[in-house]
Amino acid sequence: MAGAAREDGKPIDSKAALSLVAELRGAFASGTTRSYQWRESQLRGLLRMTDDHEQDIAAALRSDLGKPELESILYEVAMLRNSCKLALKELHHWMMPEKVKTSLTTFPSSAEIVSEPLGVVLIISAWNYPYLLSLDPVVGAIAAGNAVVLKPSEIAPATSALLAKLLGEYMDNSSIRVVEGAVAETTALLEQKWDKIFYTGNGKVGRIVMAAAAKHLTPVVLELGGKSPVVVDSGVNLQIACRRIIVGKWGCNNGQACISPDYIITTKDLAPKLVDVFKSELETFYGKNPLESKDLSRIVNSNHFTRLTKLLDEDKVSNKVVYGGERDPTKLQIAPTILLDVPRDSLIMNEEIFGPLLPILTVDKLEESYHIINSGSKPLAAYIFTNDKKVKEHFVKNVSAGGLVVNDTTIHLAVHTLPFGGVGESGMGAYHGKFSFDAFSHKKAVLYRSFMGDAAIRYPPYTDGKLRLMKALLGGSILGILRAIFGRS
């Protein structure tokens, strides 16, 4: 049983966590998880599990988040499926050692970099894409040959329970386990020694994870968040730009996504037109009564609902609403809301919004956006809509974020040849595609030398002649070497 609690039904505590890790270490030490066959069979298991239970997954997401079916299928099921398929397709290639060239300094020799599993890894997932963000890292961990403990978010309980049940049925329980629970259980898990911890969530808990990992010198990947800005330049097709922003914001779990556009910066001249286009497009997508729309996720729970309404109702902010602002506490729903020119020191501009509120800040000249963006911490993503080549280049060069997209939002998530991860406050490490495999691997350097080709100059007794020759050899110049041998330099 890959289930949450121990046999006696009690939630996991330190002692149980310790014995869980010991058990998995035993499984890992036996070598089971290292074979190609095992990894392939587990990945196929994940694929089958996802295919067989698509309806159950969508139902759990609907229960936890009110997520529209299309978003569930697209952003969670399909993406996870693609991850599995890619790993299955590339596994042989990823597992192969990488031969590297060697130089004169180690001549004669050959060398390679061998990927080996780290051992027993802990994956702590988030609530907003609870299926994808739990299993996407698991795909990488399995492909790399590790034993895995997954701790799904308790804030998405239906998905957490579904994962515990399904992984128990479809996966090799000796090496892959799910532990359900909240703070106490996570703390118990974090006390143990892991070979890697992969955490998706916020910066506050990210710090706790890294501090816990520090005790055991455990490396971590932290996928955090930030305020992802969107800069909108003039001279672009506003309708297309707005649609792409809308899809990235409200079309992604109603703004509750780490790479959702958080706020917009545009010029004072462009702002009124932009707001008009937003209004018209939002109405097309969600109707005149967006609180009734079936195409929007709800706010995940009352804590976040309260947090968001607080942002909205702050003095000097509440009168900046130019569209939306309606909310329904019984449904935990807030309508797509646009605000214009909120004060820079407002709450809404000083924390990651993670909801359906979109502030638009206006500036006189677009260049001023950089000051605004760079005065905050580095976000997970940053976006710009422009047709001006110079503006594009300037943006790419001067904005630091996990990833950048020009003329769209969020799509870089789907490009598996790009590393997905943050920088600074938005995180450390990356994954997706081969980067997932690499994140859960140790790249071991292996150097093969023969017994031939030894230079006496390496060893004592040390002499000036040896020093000359050594300089020449390390300097790599044949002439220098000849001179040194014949004593002429």
């Binding site: 290292r34 309806q55 969508a58 529209p68 299928i73 697209l74 399909a78 993406m79 060697t102 130089s103 060398a111 080996e116 070979d195 710090r207 890294m210 501090a211 990992a213 520090a214 005790k215 010198l217 490396p219 997508f285 969600y286 729309s293 195409d295 001067n398 630091s400 996990g402 990833g403 997209v405 020009v406 003329n407 799509i411 490009v415 040849t417 790009l418 997905f420 920088v423 450390m428 490490g429 140790h442 790249k443 071991k444 350097a445 292996v446 150097l447 093969y448 030398r449 017994f451 030894d454 100059i457 390496r458 060893y459 004592p460 007794p461 040390y462 020093l467 050594m470 390390l474 300097g475």
Partner: protein, 495 residues
């Protein structure tokens, strides 16, 4: 003498200036990076004599050793970075599936910002400047804190670096644990630490407060497994390489030095005899006079090493050497045969010129011996046996594995240099140095021209099917669906 408060206040100001300097963008220019690397090259060439003197004063290091392990290696690394710089800065295009119409994607490396490099005392020039090469090549502003246990080298760096590098963006801050502590609690964009696992834990714990990524180059007990070699030539070479890697590189005070030897019982006495011959050749009858053995760095470490030999069971296992001169901080190269495995000398990283030989019944037992202990920075295996080679690589874990030699992996620019588990996290050397001080930023560009209209709400079965097809890169499916010729796999009705 400045009070520590004054030092700290001045430090805060300096760091703020450095951040400003970084923000102004100067360090990002390729020309700046190149000039810094060339500056390092000039420093190494022009100050060579001074460096030899400082290393001799701090550690009693012979110039040949100093050149081989520090100066020469650095020159090689700077040249490698200069050679690769343009390519590294350019980043890579990322392959896209054909369905990604009118879109392009690339990975653009960018500097992290203001980084901290904390160096160690055993290769005080090498371990300070090697990470610096990577940090500068990647376009960062850098603070270097050299080890106070090698004070002459620390001073040399503090004096020379402002003269050869951009002193607004590269600074040396000298000091002991107090200063290091203060530095660690500031916010950095990266911390690169070389030293012990004990301090490594403090570094990463401090870094966690600011979510600062770290590279920790730590240590461990690097074993040398010597198989029973049939050729006498091979035996001599193996012995020379092992002894060289133990005693002639900082007298064993090296993270990748050979810590102990594993050998089959039946070969062990022959091995010891060969070792004795080789030792005499390398260090003469009186190693202390040979000037070819580095000193122990300070009294604390000398006493630590001496205490290993105070254990009578350990002392009685000495088969060669054992002489200790407290006044000169000199320990002669010493070989021990089968000291008790529970003794401190077999539990802690030795970091000194004491070489235990552990005998096994079969050489294959070395795999179990090594894997049941913390993962070391390197494993050295001297063998011609294919199956032992394969098993060593697949059944043990370490930063690196080297066959038939030791330490030399340090010079390989194409191999990542770093540890795993207790021996560290992260890696550097060659392009890995550049990468370790860079953020690999994903950049995607789209055109306005094409958008799949089914991207947008309101949702329906038709759009879902189109998405299914596009996610499967099923172009035909898309065409058919759009033309209304394909049945749609609808949204689950049960919800």
């Amino acid at each position: 003498m400045e009070s520590e408060n004054e030092v700290v206040g001045e430090m805060e100001r300096e760091l703020e200036e450095m951040r400003e300097c970084y923000r102004s963008g100067g360090t990002r220019e390729a020309s700046w990076r190149k000039s810094q690397l060339k500056g390092l090259l000039r420093l190494l060439r022009e100050r060579e004599e001074e460096i030899f003197r400082a290393l001799h004063q701090d550690l009693g290091k012979h110039p040949v050793e100093a050149y081989r392990d520090e100066i020469g290696s650095l020159i090689k690394s700077v040249n490698y970075a200069l050679d690769g710089l343009k390519r590294w800065i350019a980043g890579n295009k990322a392959k896209l599936p054909r369905i990604a119409l009118l879109m392009n994607a690339k990975i653009v490396p960018e500097p992290l910002g203001l980084v901290l490099v904390i160096s160690s005392w055993n290769f005080p020039i090498g371990l300070s400047l090697e990470p610096l090469i990577g940090a500068l090549a990647a376009g960062n502003a850098v603070v270097l804190k050299p080890s106070e246990l090698a004070p002459e080298c620390s001073s040399l760096l503090a004096n020379a670096i402002p003269l050869y590098l951009d002193d607004k963006a590269v600074k040396v801050i000298q000091g002991g644990p107090g200063i290091a502590e203060r530095l660690l609690h500031r916010k950095w964009d990266k911390i690169f630490f070389t030293g012990s696992a004990r301090i490594g834990r403090k570094v990463i714990a401090a870094a966690a407060e600011h979510l600062t990524p770290v590279t920790l180059e730590l240590g461990g007990k690097c074993p040398a497994v010597i198989d029973t070699l049939s050729s006498s030539f091979d035996r001599k070479v193996a012995v020379q390489r092992v002894l060289g890697a133990k005693f002639s590189s900082s007298a064993g005070q090296a993270c990748i030095g050979v810590d102990y030897v594993l050998v089959e019982k039946k070969f062990s006495s022959a091995l010891v005899e060969l070792m004795k011959v080789a030792m005499k050749k390398m260090f003469g009858e009186n190693p202390r006079e040979s000037r070819s053995v580095t000193r122990i760095v300070n009294k604390h470490h000398f006493l630590r090493l001496r205490s290993h030999l105070l254990d009578p069971l350990v002392k009685s296992s000495i088969v060669y050497g054992g002489l200790m001169d407290e006044e000169n901080l000199f320990i002669e190269p010493t070989i021990l045969m089968d000291p008790p495995l529970q003794a401190a000398i077999m539990m802690d990283e030795i970091f000194g010129p004491l070489l235990p030989i552990v005998t096994l019944n079969k050489i294959e037992d070395s795999i179990e011996f090594i894997s049941s202990r913390p993962k070391p920075l390197a494993i050295y295996v001297f063998t011609k046996d294919e199956s032992l080679r394969r098993n060593m690589v697949s059944k043990t874990s370490s930063g690196s594995v080297v066959f038939n030699d030791a330490i030399i992996q340090y010079l390989a620019d194409t191999l990542p240099f770093g540890g795993i588990g207790e021996s560290g996290m992260g890696r550097y050397h060659g392009k890995f140095s550049f990468d370790t001080f860079s953020h690999q930023k994903a950049v995607v560009r789209r055109s306005f021209l094409v958008d799949f209209w089914f991207r947008f709400p309101p949702w329906n079965d038709h759009k879902l099917q189109l998405f299914r097809s596009s996610y499967h890169y099923d172009y035909l499916g898309i065409v058919l669906t759009v033309l209304g010729l394909k049945r749609t796999n609808g949204v689950p009705k049960s919800i």
